[in-house]
Subunit: 421 residues, 2 copies
Amino acid sequence: LNRHHGGVKIQPDRLLADIEALAAIGDTGDGGNCRLALTDEDAGGRELVVGWMRDLGLDVRVDRIGNVVATRAGAESTGAGNDAAPVMTGSHIDTVGTGGRYDGTLGVLAGLEVVRALDDAGIRTRRPVAVAFFTDEEGSRFAPDMLGSLVYAGGMPLEDALDIVAIDGAVLGTELERIGWTGDAAVPGPAPHAYVELHIEQGPVLEEAGVTIGAVTGVQGISWQELTLTGQANHAGTTPMRLRRDPAYVAAQTIGFVRRLATDLGGHQVGTVGRLDLHPDLVNVVAARATLTVDLRNTDEAVLAEAERRLRGHVAALASAEGCEGAWRRLARFQPVAFDPAVIDLVESTAERLGHSVMRLPSGAGHDAQMLARVCPTGMVFVPSRAGVSHNPAEFTEPEHLAAGTEVLAEVLTELAGVVE
Amino acid sequence: LNRHHGGVKIQPDRLLADIEALAAIGDTGDGGNCRLALTDEDAGGRELVVGWMRDLGLDVRVDRIGNVVATRAGAESTGAGNDAAPVMTGSHIDTVGTGGRYDGTLGVLAGLEVVRALDDAGIRTRRPVAVAFFTDEEGSRFAPDMLGSLVYAGGMPLEDALDIVAIDGAVLGTELERIGWTGDAAVPGPAPHAYVELHIEQGPVLEEAGVTIGAVTGVQGISWQELTLTGQANHAGTTPMRLRRDPAYVAAQTIGFVRRLATDLGGHQVGTVGRLDLHPDLVNVVAARATLTVDLRNTDEAVLAEAERRLRGHVAALASAEGCEGAWRRLARFQPVAFDPAVIDLVESTAERLGHSVMRLPSGAGHDAQMLARVCPTGMVFVPSRAGVSHNPAEFTEPEHLAAGTEVLAEVLTELAGVVE
């Protein structure tokens, strides 16, 4: 890489103004945003952002699934179809139903601020710099999530994606046509030279550590399982303890084991029982059945698989000891994604060079970057989320952290694109 | 007591036929019965049973709350208003919505069979023998349960009882009038000389032990509490284990502690968490709130109070360690009832004398007998429930166990009433 020593001066006020303006579309009145994928509100957001892209003189292409890629030409561009692969940044502008104003939008709008800063400084990069936003990252209306980037990266055929039916019964392809965002650029899209995404952490780790920049090492693998424990309903007064076959007791032991498992395996292993239902759920009846979910995540596939094995083995013993039956159902399983070591190093060293505190951490949530990681060297920059809150109107990141992240992004993209001296 | 050595020969077939006939009223078609208190079905049951009482020449009195007491005169009777206090047996003929055919009805119909057997043998007892059935024992339609016997024993003013509103909006006094069962006998009713009730166990203890007769020592005290644990909702992927404040984890530890508490305190202590709700109850969100109930029961008031104290203390420590708040709400609290030692001894020795296996045990469920225990020496006879099942169409007791229990009841009542030799 052609090491760039200049410094790209970003202007935080412009970024904040853009975030404010985009947040006015689908404003839920409580500080939050609702721009579910391919709704009129999503279309409104698209119009606004693409308008800004055109104002910056970028080459805007819309693909068959509605992903938008806006490119600032590089010095090595030699005309249509023959350009050097761009260094790409981006994220998404759709939100969950009760979304905040930073999740996704930060990565897209910071990308545009980087372009403005490059323009201001009159910097010509060797490779093009592209700013993208991908369709339906949240998956709240059309499952699965990260859909647009999945299709961009070749992970799902276009036809399958267009046939997806929303929770409201709408068909994805039809909705894309209706809002006028079916483009003609082919999918899968061209592989970028590299992809770096700025995003809010959506977790409490950076805030807790008092650190400004996260150099994201990858995305956790996810295992979701549902466990149904069947015992015997009994009278709470007349049934001695030794004669009980209580699935609530086995469920409780399972919750305790999930905590121990995560603690024992250490590292980035987490485990959560967030759902638990008893039947018949009465104060004076020993439950007949308990249904609970176990969410296990790890950056290391081998450890995640080991966690699943230990969980199933231990629960089988617990259930048997109580005279209960246990039945598992797999709800979801994704392998971990590891980001590119050189990109991770670059994010970390750039933050240090700019004087920001920095730490490496994995992402616990899914991001478009994990799809791009299938086709090019990829990394992410995290900035702190207040109290770790996201997917919530209370989602908030300090303006100085937004600025710091954008500054790091600007330097990293410039470094990766190379500067024509 | 004038020891009776004769033997009162009961005829099981008559008892079984009566159970069958009563079960035809409010038959739910699945082997079960629905005669909720003061419904037309309850009225139908009352007509049938009171018809039998009159056929036996008993003096039938209905009181202001609809309790029915049918009395066989004793040798010491000296005319109206001047009789010796009767030895009373009985139970109830109302059922829960999904009731079986033995709960309550056995005690009433076995009482009538005892009267028939006394008549057959030409036995004159010194004291009168009375067979009663009490209004609304189940409490399924009009809370609280054991209402009729509570009013009989002076535990609730008549006016308060008549004003109770049903779950279906009906008023108790109005319903009692409507079905024609408001009597003129005063409440509280006269204290019997003694009260002995035959009932199915509704639990698995006798069956498990292979024992035919239970000499019931009393009724467990009951403590119902609701615990609300408040933590912090968090992302299941992005929140490290050490930063969690997970009320589901504290709920699980509480369930484990309730089991340990019951086991450690031993004796007749039982503890049950039958209800547990998480909020928001999502697979990928650490819960913000857990609400659970704890049902603690013991025959010993001091131990029950100690169990409550230990539970609250331990949960406070668990919640604090996890950074959660715990709030308790008392749902119900009843002190244990101890039956009369002489009556317990008599039930036990009578069973032994008749060659039935017998054991002492407390009742985990509430019974009319615990109300009568306020005004006279009281005891109960239990017979086994198959698999401990009750309040269910599958409720079943072997015919030979029904016969054995009735035989014991007959001897105990005759013993207590005294025989004119």
